[in-house]
Assembly symmetry: C2
Homo-oligomer: 326 residues x 2
């Protein structure tokens, strides 16, 4: 019997989930649930329903994958829908994870459902790699570098500046910093030493480019602590050269073992992603399989990637996994 | 209360475990158990007992880490000691894992103990990374490269050749192959295209070096399928330049997502290890923590890294993990 999946929210992430389900033969997509007029939502084939129909389809859906944004959607939606469904989300506001966990856990425990939160690549695969590496090498340092890739939040921040029509911001690790870490030098790095930021900006005709550039590079939190480069380009160039949503990054643990810490070790996990949302969607879908299995085993409550036996993510049986992948 | 650890077998691995325990404040090393005369075993400080004393110390040890070899020790010892203790081993004969699992599982289920087998880096961390990556990107290819590092088995094979006093063999990934994989080219690679082998050999005075070299490079299974380089060096050079046991390698998944597989993704996990046995020991110790916790939760039987929630490996609490690493 297939695992029956629902998608709540149909943006880049939701579309990615629809594609990913097709690569997983043990899953079946029941429908997309949207706040918009369902007849206006163009999917790749799956039926769209109004979000208010979701609760009534409780018995037709094993896991609801919630594809909203972390700022306002997920803090409300995940606890709400965990009362009805097993759910998975990609909540990525790191500082608010404990709070989100508590709210979702209360809902999911009450309903007896399983809710997997904060999966994707960071939080998600990067987090679990930090955990493994730190458990193996207790004496050491963690490093996370992001990019090269498009930061949606920073691109949005530039778009809010007066005179800007559109913008794309790339986060780029500083090669020398990355190399020092990989060489086991265990450097202490400031924000500025770890990443640079490169911005491609389309300005309104006649806009004051110097002012726009100054507003970008001095913007607190977003750019002021980084070395930032600004390029003004045409809308055609932006659409031609910067329409993708690539991202990636590396998590490195540099640690020591031996009687006198005489041996150095480098553990590195890296991602190079052509499509940030499609990769996140692919993680969400594997986690939906895990949620389904945990529920069947009688578990309930909120779970993170830290709590889930890796085998639960795979379509393969335990025997097959031991035989082919161990 | 500390987790009380025993070490069964005291070679490179056992010594590595003794060092690793010191980095884990929730653990306490009870003793080393050896087939040799305990008074002749020089540890870094822990008491050595004869292996026959182990069973009698059942109540003083929470987890026995079995540090024997995969060829003859572990197939016997792990099932045997799983009858008495929670155990962890690093059994690494990939083809015989299903058989080893079955034997250990029967013992551990009967005794109600938890036995974690085949942990280290391959099998172990490489395996779990293959599992995660394959579950996330079902459409893709796996690649594993080993090295640059010392292969103990290949070094031993050279030492068995007549006229050879000592030898060290390095396994080295072919840079062009690694680059093609990282570029997402998803090449099909033969054994020869993936790795080269480099041998440093100390020959007896007057030995026929041409014959030794020929015997090495044509040796079936070990060298015949590889491009192999042989260097004859002095015993002094061997001891000066090749006394370490470094190793490492990379596991890469190259996969596609999107409606028409239009987006490529590269997931890479890599290790650069100054000491192969000390890293393996560090994994064994983290897994001992997991075995202890699983037992306390009432689980029993044989487990692999695939079955263990990552959080069980860490000293940190679930709350702390979510707050600091997620």
């Amino acid at each position: 019997m297939s695992i029956r999946i629902g998608i709540l929210g149909y943006g880049n992430l939701g579309r990615g989930v629809e594609c990913a389900i097709r690569q997983n033969p043990d899953m079946e997509l029941v429908g997309v649930f949207t706040r918009r007029d369902p007849s206006a939502v163009k999917t790749f084939g799956v039926k769209a329903y109004h979000i208010d129909c979701a609760a009534g389809m409780k018995d037709e859906i094993d896991v609801m994958i919630i594809c909203g944004g972390s700022a306002t959607d997920l803090p409300k939606q995940t606890p709400e829908y965990a009362k009805i469904f097993n759910v998975v989300d990609s909540f990525d506001t790191h500082a608010k994870i404990p709070e989100h966990f508590a709210a979702v856990d209360a809902s999911a425990k009450e309903s007896g459902n399983v809710a997997v939160i904060s999966v994707g690549w960071d939080p998600g695969m990067f987090s679990v790699n930090r955990l493994y590496a730190g458990a193996i090498l207790p004496e050491g340092n963690d490093y996370t570098f992001w990019g090269k890739g498009v930061s949606q939040g920073h691109s949005d921040a530039i778009r809010r500046i007066e005179g800007v029509l559109d913008a794309r911001q790339y986060t780029i690790p500083v090669p020398a910093a990355l190399e020092a870490v990989r060489n086991g030098e265990a450097p202490e790095l400031t924000t500025r030493e770890k990443h640079t930021r490169e911005c491609f900006v389309v300005a309104e005709e006649g806009a004051d480019l110097e002012r726009i550039e100054r507003e970008i590079v001095t913007m607190p939190n977003y750019f002021a602590d980084y070395d930032t480069t600004v390029h003004f380009i045409s809308m055609e160039e932006l659409q031609r050269d910067h329409s993708g949503i690539p991202h990636g990054g590396v998590v490195i643990r540099s640690g020591k073992t031996g009687l006198n810490k005489e041996h150095g070790h480098i553990i590195e996990y890296s991602l190079k992603l052509d499509s940030n949302p499609e990769f996140t969607s692919s993680v969400l879908v594997a986690m939906a399989r895990a949620a389904y299995r945990m529920k069947r085993e009688g578990m309930s409550g909120c779970k993170t990637i830290f709590d889930i036996p890796p085998a639960y993510l795979s379509l393969k049986s335990a025997e097959e996994l031991r035989k082919t992948l161990l």
